[in-house]
């Protein structure tokens, strides 16, 4: 009970701070908008090229905005040495990880939902028709992304070259999740339902479980430095 309350208070703090400052949300929204403009200019109205490239572009948008969002995940902790406070708070530190992960996940899903709508508008894509299956793939892919991203954001938070180190560390580890997410999204947008992408969803679920478990088990050591 105390463990859940500790995880909840971290999520509450992050959500409240973000709702008031809207720093990450505003930055990610305009970043995503910029990406979409670039994609639109590059691809134009060629529907055939678009159909081939769309799943990759969609996840490229998610990954780039995710990197920006996750990279900021522990910035508030560095201000006024709050990192020390987290470290000295008695109890299992993995609760802090789960709270942070939940906060990052919420933010990423919100940005991804906005991105999906904008993709629909920019590329004249009927997102609604594929929504249930697409939502399943996006949620599973994002959980894995956020799990390992939160962990690496903590790992690099106190490092001087964190802006460089964070994506360099994160992206290779994300390969299985990105591969499965892009392939599953491609199949879903081609009209296959969830039943057609079961193997990819199983891979995503397994990767999510492994990444979250690794995060829970190692966060204490990472926080201790």
């Amino acid at each position: 009970m105390i463990y859940a309350r500790r995880a909840w208070i971290v999520l509450w703090k992050d959500a409240l701070a973000e709702r008031r400052s809207k720093e990450a949300l505003n930055a990610l929204f305009f970043f995503t908008l910029l990406l979409l403009f670039i994609f639109q200019f590059t691809l134009g109205g060629d529907r055939e090229r678009l159909a081939d490239a769309l799943p990759g572009l969609l996840w490229l948008g998610f990954v780039l905005s995710g990197l920006v969002g996750l990279g900021r995940a522990f910035l508030t902790e560095r201000d006024h040495d709050c990192w020390e406070g987290l470290l000295l708070s008695p109890g299992d530190k993995s609760a802090i990880y789960l709270g942070k992960l939940a906060g990052n996940l919420l933010l990423m899903l919100l940005v991804e939902a906005i991105t999906l709508v904008l993709f629909g508008v920019f590329f004249n894509l009927d997102v609604g028709r594929h929504l249930p299956a697409l939502a399943g793939v996006v949620v599973l892919g994002t959980v894995g992304f956020a799990a390992v991203g939160t962990l690496f954001a903590a790992m690099t938070a106190q490092v001087r070259a964190r802006e460089l180190l964070f994506p360099v560390l994160l992206l290779p580890v994300l390969v299985p999740v990105l591969l499965a997410s892009v392939k599953a999204t491609e199949a879903v947008l081609a009209g296959e339902g969830l039943s057609g992408v079961t193997h990819w969803l199983k891979l995503l679920a397994a990767a999510d479980a492994v990444y979250v478990a690794v995060g829970v088990l190692t966060f204490d050591a990472i926080l201790e430095g």
Binding site: K13, L16, A17, D81, G85, L88, G91
Partner: protein
């Protein structure tokens, strides 16, 4: 709690042959210090003498290179979690989130420490440091001194047995400084142990039972505070600060 017994029987803080090397430079060379429950010690020394380093080791934020540091009967390296349960630490940083209000900051830290506290108790803590009028103001609008007072309010909610304060009077006005003195005196009287660093010869020394001066990486003076006037302390401090430089 079984940490209480060894603490009452022996020392609240015991540091033996402590050494800390940072980036190849010895910060602490051979520090020995013992503080009993109910005792307050003021730690003095020039900038870079190792006061903050010693406090950080005792708070389990840093590991000694050699030697031992024991707080409330628990080794700071081997049983860091047990030490954290009974230590209250106010460092240079105030540990506050700018986009949360004063009340929300206290709620966050008490809940994270596994001691969720009702709003009334949080308000009492804010009233004690004269921040009750700003309970719902975002910390972003606070001055340095107000953030410092908020950090002290957080300290009072933790029910620590050992308090470590790194220059607690920095940025505080007279009224807040007086409150800190009174709070520490009451804490000491209840059997708590205080170790504080200060550069202020007026404040902090009043509550201290002993004055310890750090210089050259070690303890160069450890004497009862009652035996010295503020001017004596200032002279000793300046003499050792010059040695250290």
């Amino acid at each position: 709690m079984n940490w209480f017994e060894p603490m009452m029987a022996d020392f609240a803080i015991q540091v033996s042959a402590l050494k800390k090397i940072y980036a190849g430079r010895p910060i602490l060379s051979d520090v020995n210090l013992a503080i009993r429950p109910g005792e307050a010690v003021a730690l003095l020394g020039a900038n870079g003498a190792g006061k903050t380093t010693l406090l950080r080791i005792l708070a389990t934020l840093s590991r000694p290179s050699r030697g031992t540091a024991v707080v409330a009967g628990h080794d700071c390296v081997k049983h860091a979690e047990r030490v954290r349960e009974c230590v209250g630490f106010v460092a240079h940083g105030a540990w506050v989130y700018d986009d949360l209000t004063a009340l929300e900051n206290l709620k966050f830290w008490t809940t994270l420490s596994g001691r969720p506290t009702d709003a009334e108790t949080l308000r009492v803590a804010l009233t004690a440091v004269d921040l009750d009028r700003f309970a719902h103001a975002r910390v972003r609008t606070f001055s340095v001194g107000m953030k410092r007072r908020l950090a002290l309010a957080r300290l009072t909610l933790g029910r620590p047995r050992v308090i470590l304060l790194d220059e607690p009077f920095a940025g505080l006005d007279q009224q807040a400084g007086k409150w800190v003195d009174e709070y520490l005196a009451a804490f000491k009287a209840s059997g708590g142990c205080v170790l504080l660093t200060t550069h202020s010869f007026g404040r902090g020394l009043g509550v201290a039972d002993r004055i310890v001066i750090l210089a050259g990486g070690g303890v160069v003076l450890d004497t009862p505070a009652a035996a010295l006037s503020n001017d004596d302390v200032r002279r000793l401090y300046e003499a050792h600060a010059e040695d250290d430089a």
